[in-house]
């Protein structure tokens, strides 16, 4: 008797579940409503990705990046197996990196990293530099920052950009170098950038002063966080001679933990504590 009752209950439950599924499916078909989030088909995904890329390209061009092309490339060495492949025009004629190239490099990688927060699905960023004749002279593909490792909570703090500029200006030790311009701005995402233009009458003055200047500048950025709760996402330094000859271009993306720089021959190299291999002979 008990067994028959259990069997009946099971049958009734099964019928109810089946009926619900049929009802839901029919309702979805009729009204177009979706009770379950549908799988986006690949075409729709591609359109969304392309829209993000188009916007990204537009933003980069607005920032002065000379983009020849951007395309989405399938590449299973990366996870997800997608590379945003970007070809950049360098101003170089000699096949050597131009002083502006590290800035463009940083801007593209940063933009792709941040675009993940808008839904861009990507495993790596490819950057190819071509010279004025269109010849490739340098390329790099680097894994994107995993979205969970990007600090999106960079604080602006209570102080405004003008105050930050004043604080930097008053603490900056220039060591004989000349501060031509100091710009503190917030980008579209409300992340703060600090840009410095510095010049020297002679490269030897830079060689004497650059290391302690860089240490001092980094200490100022740290103090801004500890004292003012004001974080800087990106710092950019351009060092030239007073005649305008570039000596150093340095961009530090503190948010993405990447740094790119170019420096002229003759400027000392050991102004950063990053490791360097030593020359060995056969």
């Amino acid at each position: 008797m008990k067994a028959i009752r259990s069997l009946l209950i099971t049958l009734i439950v099964a019928l109810l579940v089946f009926g619900s599924i049929v009802y839901v499916n029919n309702k979805s078909k009729v009204s177009g409503a979706t009770l379950f989030v549908p799988e986006t088909d690949s075409t729709e995904k591609d359109i969304i990705q392309q829209e993000i890329i188009d916007e990204l390209m537009l933003n980069l061009k607005e920032q002065g990046v000379l983009i020849k092309s951007i395309e989405i490339v399938s590449d299973d060495r990366w996870a997800p197996p997608v590379v945003i492949d970007c070809v950049l025009q360098s101003s170089t004629e000699s096949g050597k990196t131009s002083p502006e190239d590290p800035i463009y490099h940083m801007l593209v990688e940063r933009a792709v990293n941040l675009a993940q927060t808008q839904g861009l699905i990507v495993g790596a960023t490819g950057i190819t530099f071509v010279d004025s004749d269109g010849n490739v002279f340098s390329w790099i593909i680097s894994a994107v920052k995993e979205i969970e490792n990007i600090n999106l909570e960079f604080k602006q703090g209570e102080v405004g950009n003008d105050t930050v500029a004043t604080l930097i200006r008053q603490d900056l030790s220039l060591n004989g170098m000349i501060l031509d311009n100091l710009e503190v701005v917030s980008d579209n995402n409300n992340f703060r950038w600090v840009k410095l233009d510095i010049s020297v009458p002679d490269i030897e003055i830079a060689n004497v002063g650059i290391k302690s200047f860089m240490d001092n500048f980094k200490a100022i950025l740290t103090n801004l966080i500890t004292k003012e709760n004001a974080e800087v996402a990106v710092s950019q330094i351009r060092l030239t001679t007073t005649q305008g000859h570039p000596l150093l271009t340095y961009v530090d993306d503190l948010q993405m933990r990447t740094t790119f720089w170019w420096q002229t021959d003759g400027l000392i190299e050991d102004w950063l504590p990053y490791p360097a291999p030593i020359e060995i002979n056969n």
Binding site: W78, K96, L221, T222, P275, P277, E279, N281
Partner: protein, 238 residues
Amino acid sequence: MMCPSRMRGRTQEKTIMCQYFRIKRRKMKKALLILTILFQIIIIAQPVAASWYAGNARFSVYGVKADIHTPESAPSPCTGAGLSNWVSTAPNYDHPGWVQTGWLYIPESPYYITVATPYVELKTDNGTRSYYEYGTQSWDTYKNYKINWNGYWEVYIDGNLKLTTGGDYESPPVNVEVYSEVQSSSSNELDTFFDNVSYKNSGGSWTYFDQDHWLDNNDPYTIYDESYYYMYLCIGPN
């Protein structure tokens, strides 16, 4: 040196003497200026950041990899520019560029890298530099750091491809180094174990380091026990 006033406005010979003194005075001024500049450079210039190395190298290879351990706890003291432990292609006169990966630790101001941090750093032959950090590496753990030639250079950390690059680097065969590097202060504690240190040969096979290119006398840093070319502990200061 002044032209004596008593000579002013006198004979031709004395005018020549005056000119002589003027020239001498100018030279003295110039010398004084150069001395002042030199003095300022000596006084103002920061001491060049010194580095000390320990490890082994392998010549003529197509890749390099190693398990690089972190010590049981944070090295102490670790002042100035701290320390790093890495595998790298070695620069030479014709090709000053290199590709490098490992972990570094620079706990003090202004860098505050207060945990062991895996990184990749590149320098192209024409001097452009790129530096990437990838999370952290806990104390008393190891990660596998690998640089591989695949028609271009690839960099892996723990089997995950982090970066590929080409165009402005030396192609294989190249010399490679697997070193600890202490920067700024020879008081900094070094205690890094390298294991399974291997190179890729021209046939594409990975083989343990098999050459004696120890860098073990960069006092006060050295290698503890050189029984194996592919497994060693870099220590100091002694």
